[in-house]
């Protein structure tokens, strides 16, 4: 940690708002997508298929649904964040 950064922390300057950290975080995300080479249209289809399956069982907030790729320690993970409104009662 540089002296300036250390002082910044000491005086309560939030590191995550430094523009270089914003740049790093945005790059990290964009490179995950670039490296796996999954097209936007494939991600879109995947998202729609996930919604279709989950809707059989639950009512979900489709607008807030997020499907993203994220970098794990050794590899890339598909992360879906799906807010549930309510679980459907099965009338079997």
């Amino acid at each position: 940690m540089g002296v300036i950064e250390a002082l910044g922390r000491f005086f309560g300057k939030d590191n995550s708002t430094l523009s270089k950290n914003v740049a790093k975080e945005r790059l990290r995300l964009v490179l995950i997508n670039d490296r796996v080479d999954i097209s936007d249209s494939m991600m879109h289809s995947l998202r729609n298929d996930i919604i279709e399956v989950i809707c059989k069982y639950m009512e979900i907030d489709e607008k807030a649904l997020e499907v993203t790729l994220s970098k794990e320690d050794d590899g890339v993970a598909l992360v879906a964040n799906i807010p549930i409104i309510k679980v459907k009662r099965q009338n079997a």
Binding site: I4, N15, S19, K20, A23, K24, R26, L27, D34, R35
Partner: protein, 266 residues
């Protein structure tokens, strides 16, 4: 047998041509026989950066088409003993040269020169594939900006796919003040993202603009920091180990000037 090194970046405007000119001139200055090849057909610029634009007779397309002998197309620099330029064609189509022709050209050049430095056009298409076709090693130039680093990552992937292993990175136009205030990604930040070996760092320096205006490579300017940065890079290319230059010393500050006075370099 010489070495064929391609200088590439993906994104335009990050300093590929300036880097090529300075590495080429720096290698020639310390006694190597060097040829620089401009492969940016239709948008040639290495000639003006080197100040050789008035001496072009033949170009790379003339050579591959057999309109002239290779020797006739090489422009010999008058300032440095063994520095030559093979200029790009300005008026021809960019598909005028094929990958096989480039490979053959590189083979012929490296039989005669210690270093063949290839200036690659921006982009990842025909011109890029031509430029890397005959290269054994690659230097990737980037700047501390999101767009340039992203493109560098893409280029590194493409180079590795083309079996040009272990490309080396130059980070250009670093502004130490902005890095210190956290408003520019540092060398460490970029290396963490790209996971590639570093060849060197070049500070953002007004001298580059001035020397480009004059058509004189900055590396020959003993006073400037950017010149020093390129001299360090050249030494590393020849296999010497040179520590990274400190970005914190501003030559304009009293402290920086005092230090450089005592050390003879900065």
């Amino acid at each position: 047998m010489g070495k064929v090194i391609v200088v590439t970046s993906g994104k335009g405007g990050v300093g590929k041509t300036t880097t090529t000119a300075n590495i080429g001139a720096g290698l020639a200055k310390i006694g190597n026989k060097v040829v620089m090849v401009d492969t940016d057909i239709g948008l040639r610029n290495l000639d003006v950066v080197l100040g050789l634009e008035n001496r072009i007779v033949y170009d790379i397309v003339d050579v591959v088409r057999g309109n002239c002998r290779l020797r006739q197309a090489l422009i010999k620099d008058k300032r440095l003993e063994e520095m030559y330029l093979l200029p790009a064609a300005q008026t021809k189509d960019k598909t005028a040269v094929t990958e096989d022709q480039m490979k053959e050209l590189c083979e012929n050049l490296k039989a005669e020169f210690d270093y063949v430095i290839i200036d690659c056009p921006a982009g990842i298409e025909h011109g890029f594939r031509n430029a890397i076709a005959g290269a054994e090693e690659a230097i990737v130039v980037t700047t501390p900006e999101v767009s340039a680093v992203r493109d560098a990552d893409r280029i590194i992937g493409l180079l590795e796919a083309a079996e040009i292993r272990k490309p080396k990175l130059i980070i250009n136009r670093i502004r130490s003040k902005m890095v210190r205030s956290g408003d520019m990604m540092s060398v460490e930040d970029i290396l963490e993202i790209l996971a590639v070996d570093l060849l060197g760092i070049v500070p953002d320096d007004d001298v580059i603009v001035i020397s480009t205006n004059r058509g004189e490579p900055t590396v020959l300017d003993e006073e400037s920091r950017a010149g020093q940065a390129f001299r360090n890079i050249v030494k590393r290319i020849t296999g010497q180990e040179v520590p990274l230059m400190s970005l914190d010393e501003q030559p304009g500050s009293l402290w920086g000037r005092l230090k450089s006075l005592f050390r003879g370099n900065n």
